[in-house]
């Protein structure tokens, strides 16, 4: 059991979706796109740092690029553990929602 938090899950899925193009700017944008909320870079780096320490994510420095004025980017990719953790989260969601109709009516 990895027990991802919601925030971790969101970031990991964002990295997963971005494939090879996951770095600060794109991750933040992806999150904003999915959750419709803006996350501060500071918060994002904190969470990324946590995920790195937990071994879900690997950091990798790119070659210097022209867009950044000759500076390199920090790319993030999922590790095997990170993928396992996401799989587990997906299974958990599935079993949590199983048998519940798409439209939930509230009978009050």
């Amino acid at each position: 059991m990895y027990k991802l938090t919601m925030a971790e899950e969101i970031i990991l899925t964002a990295i997963l979706r971005l494939q090879d193009n996951a770095y600060g700017v794109t991750i933040r944008k992806k999150i904003a796109e999915v959750t419709k909320s803006d996350i501060a870079y500071g918060t994002l780096y904190n969470l990324l740092g946590q995920l790195v320490r937990k071994g879900y994510v690997l950091k990798k420095r790119s070659q210097p690029t022209r867009e950044r004025g000759g500076r390199s980017r920090m790319y993030y990719t999922l590790t095997k553990t990170g993928i396992n953790a996401l799989e587990e989260a997906r299974e958990l969601h599935k079993s949590l929602w199983e048998g519940i109709p798409d439209i939930i009516t509230f009978e009050g």
């Binding site: 500071g42 780096y45 740092g49």
Partner: protein, 862 residues
């Protein structure tokens, strides 16, 4: 140019963000921000982009703070973990260190608790800051002034009546030697007071049962303390029951909580003052009760003092101001600062509190020093760790923090051990602890102590150890130059100074106590029992009582006296021949014909009182040699003395001196021998002294008790052994002596632990030197001497400081005694010798091991 600048992110925000993101690769993270910023400049324009940049920066602050806190906690957690490992790795060191600190801290806590207890006297009363006792400074006919606790019974009610700023007043009077009869059982309870209903308006002694407003209303109603009630009635509620007090029936109307140990009023029962003669009188010059006042909140004590003084004019007359001067004593100051005539509980002197506080602090400091020395002794084991941490990027601050964490951990553990030690050591220090003391409520203080001790003892090693450059740490030859050790040498000197001063104190107190014990007092106080005659009927027939008691086998001699001799004397006013109209007050003992032979007091001149000469009893005087000198007589026998009565009922008696006594110590040795007059006054006799000759004292006592029941069926047999009285006189000094000896032992113990650390350090440093010396043929003894010499010089230095300090302190203490030993140089030499021997023995444990090690091991190393 301007356009280009606007395309840049705001400089201040950029800087701020770069500061905030120290946790990640700040260069790269700032790069992310800039990339998005440029994008936004393109899509939204520079102004919006700049404001976005600012918002991003500010929004990142909370995340940074959270990170910083967790990061530091994480670091500290790591430090504690490695501290634990270090402690486990070197168990002996940890144990020595823990033991020293724990003992030092537990002493400190015990002394602290005692000081707290002594300083908290009478603060439990709800109005403690507004309660005052009236002190009465009375000028006697002779001009002597006597400051006493007694006031007129009329004063309290008059004060409440006349002055609205006095909220309430209550009067009390001591009630001693009460014989209770409950059912068919007899009890003797010595401590009680007469009190009136307003007692409960002034003091906060809670009634557990009964009604405070009327419990003391009716005559002969009595309130019992828990302790006494338990003794009399067991667990039953005593309220409503009756008992006999000195033969008279009393009704129990209340059960009161036992007075706490930090109350200057200690009692087992309170007896209603209603109908008691001493409380009814309107005689303003008869002083018989204690008066306590509660002032209204806004009232100042000084203003009230003047108003109390004004009562003299109103109720007594003009002359009274020359005789009675009143002053108010805050109730909380009585225990420490009041020493009036008639004080009813033993006080503690401020100087004793200072002295013991100083000892407590010094012991704690000695323990801290110990910690420093022991930590430094094994610093070399940590150098590599420090080096590696430094190479891996730890800065100085983090290293200091790490070492401090270690010392906090160790101090915290020692504190735990100290808290466990306190109840164990408490009985050992029983001489200090007079009441219950509680650790509860001191948790904050304990935490402060841990932090302070941790900081004091951890800071120096932390700063020292973190100061090395990593490069030098990995080289073999670390640290040359012994100047580094100056501070630690000073610390050892300090430790031993404290120890030697305590040793000197122990020695001086001991010799003085021996001196007191062995000094001929001029009479024989051994094997004398004092029996109290409470029944006024008995006093008239004291000769019969004596002869009855003499029939008990084992009782050799008996004599009656007024006051317990050597405990108390009357102070009477006399006009000796040649004094003209002048008067002098002289201590006076009332004795019978057998007093001198029973006490084995020598006559220097003249004769004893004689039964066959009735004039002796009427107006014969025996004086001591000091009195003769005081009166200025060359030939005392036959000189006339006129005694003045202290009140109207007492007649004036004029008569000749019939005998002169050799001086004997009728007071404690703290006082000079004063003039003394002996007279025969049977109506004042209230004690009988018995000289006993027996192997089986308890058997004799039970026989005496039986005999006493025949003689006096009402009052119990109350006795005291004369030597016990003497011991009590010096109780506080013996306390001090015991305190010195215990604390010096502890101080020695701790200092030795410190020495162990120091010598371990020195031998470690000089391993190679020792090896080379041995190879060149030095003997083990030579090397041990070499190693010990260095520290023994420090001990010698400590002696140089401790001698004058010890002399100064103890000389001051000896000034309490009129008769004292000169300070014996042997005490100083002995203390020095003890310090040297103990230090050398401790050192040798380690240095012999170092010296006898195989030199190959020391030299092969490189």
């Amino acid at each position: 140019m301007a356009a280009k600048k606007r395309r840049e992110p705001p400089a201040l925000a950029k800087w701020l963000f770069s500061r905030l993101t120290i946790y990640e690769d700040e260069f790269l993270s700032a790069g992310d921000m800039e990339e998005e910023f440029e994008e936004r400049v393109g899509s939204e324009g520079a102004v919006k982009a700049r404001s976005w940049y600012w918002r991003q920066t500010l929004k990142s602050i909370p995340a940074y703070i959270v990170y910083f806190i967790f990061g530091t906690l994480d670091m500290v957690k790591n430090y504690f973990k490695s501290a634990f490992r270090n402690m486990k790795r070197d168990k002996v060191y940890t144990l020595l260190n823990l033991a020293g600190l724990a003992v030092g801290m537990s002493c400190f806590i015990i002394i602290g608790l005692w000081v707290q207890h002594e300083l908290s006297f009478d603060e439990f009363h709800a109005r403690s800051d507004k309660i005052y006792r009236i002190g009465n400074s009375v000028t006697l006919k002779t001009g002597d002034e006597r400051d006493m606790v007694y006031t007129s019974a009329a004063m309290g009610p008059a004060l409440v009546e006349d002055y609205p700023e006095i909220e309430t007043a209550t009067r009390m009077r001591g009630f001693h030697g009460a014989n209770f009869k409950v059912g068919d059982k007899d009890f003797i309870e010595n401590w009680g007071f007469y009190a009136e209903p307003s007692f409960f308006d002034v003091f906060s002694f809670p009634l557990l049962s009964g009604n405070p407003s009327d419990a003391l209303e009716a005559p002969r109603s009595i309130i019992l303390s828990q302790k006494v009630a338990l003794k009399f009635f067991g667990d039953e509620n005593p309220v409503g029951k009756t008992l006999l007090l000195n033969g008279e029936a009393c009704q129990v109307t209340g059960l009161i909580k036992d007075p706490p140990s930090n109350s200057h009023l200690q009692f087992g029962y309170l007896l209603s003052s209603a109908g008691v003669e001493e409380f009814e009188g309107q005689n303003w010059t008869q002083l018989g009760v204690y008066s306590y006042l509660v002032l209204k909140d806004s009232t100042q004590a000084e203003a009230v003092e003047a108003k109390i003084q004004a009562l003299n004019q109103r109720y007594i007359g003009d002359w009274a101001d020359d005789v009675f001067r009143y002053h108010l004593q805050p109730i909380t100051s009585i225990h420490l600062h009041s020493d009036l005539v008639g004080e009813f509980s033993p006080r503690t002197e401020m100087s004793q509190i200072y002295l013991f506080s100083a000892i407590g602090l010094l012991l704690l400091l000695v323990a801290c020093i110990n910690f420093v020395n022991l930590t430094m002794a094994r610093y070399h084991r940590r150098l590599k760790e420090v080096g590696i941490r430094k190479v891996l990027g730890a800065d100085r601050f983090r290293l200091v923090l790490q070492f401090l964490c270690e010392s906090f951990l160790l101090v915290g553990l020692s504190m735990g051990a100290a808290l466990l030690l306190v109840p164990v050591l408490n009985p050992v220090f029983g001489f200090l602890i007079t009441g219950n003391m509680y650790l509860e409520g001191n948790i904050l203080i304990i935490i402060v102590i841990v932090l302070a001790v941790g900081l004091i003892s951890g800071l120096y090693p932390a700063i020292y150890l973190s100061s090395f450059q990593p490069v030098s740490l990995f080289r073999k030859a670390v640290m040359k130059g012994s100047h580094r050790l100056v501070l630690r040498r000073l610390l050892i000197v300090f430790q031993f100074t404290v120890t030697i001063v305590l040793l000197i104190g122990t020695g001086v107190v001991y010799t003085q106590m021996q001196f007191i014990k062995n000094r001929p007092l001029g009479f024989n106080r051994e094997k004398i029992l004092l029996v109290r005659m409470n029944n006024p009927e008995l006093r008239k027939n004291y000769e019969t009582v004596k002869s009855e008691l003499l029939t008990v086998p084992g009782v050799v001699k008996a004599t009656a006296s007024g006051f317990a001799p050597f405990l108390n004397q009357d102070l009477k006013v006399y006009q000796p021949e040649g004094f003209g109209e002048d008067m002098i007050s002289v201590r006076t003992l009332y004795v019978d014909y057998d007093f001198l032979p029973t006490m084995e007091i020598e006559l220097a001149d003249g004769r004893n009182f004689m039964r066959k000469n009735p004039a002796d009893a009427e107006y014969g005087y025996i004086v001591n040699k000091t009195a003769v000198k005081e009166f200025g007589w060359d030939f005392p026998l036959g000189k006339q003395i006129e005694a003045h009565g202290s009140n109207e009922n007492e007649e004036t008696a004029k008569g000749p001196v019939i005998g002169v006594l050799e001086d004997f110590h009728f007071r404690s040795l703290k006082e000079e021998i004063a003039p003394l007059i002996l007279r025969v006054r049977p109506e004042r006799f209230d004690f009988i002294s018995l000289k006993v000759e027996t192997e089986n004292l308890s058997g004799l006592l039970s026989k005496l008790q039986e005999k006493w029941k025949e003689i006096d069926p009402v009052y119990p047999f109350i006795y005291e052994v004369m030597e016990g009285i003497f011991d009590r006189t010096y109780r506080r000094d013996q306390q001090l002596g015991r305190g010195f000896s215990y604390f010096s032992l502890i101080s020695i113990l701790i200092a030795c632990l410190g020495l162990l650390g120091m010598i371990a350090f020195l031998t470690q440093q000089r391993t190679k030197e020792i090896g080379i010396r041995k190879v060149h043929g030095a003997s083990v003894i030579r090397i041990v001497g070499l190693l010990n010499k260095e520290i023994l010089i420090l001990v010698a230095l400590a002696n140089l400081i401790a001698w004058p300090a010890g002399y100064f302190i103890m000389d001051n203490w000896l000034k309490n005694f009129a008769y004292r030993v000169p300070i014996d140089p042997l005490v100083f030499l002995g203390s020095a010798a003890a310090a040297f021997i103990i230090a050398a023995a401790t050192l040798s444990v380690q240095s012999i091991r170092a010296a006898s090690a195989n030199p190959i091991d020391a030299l092969r190393y490189e």
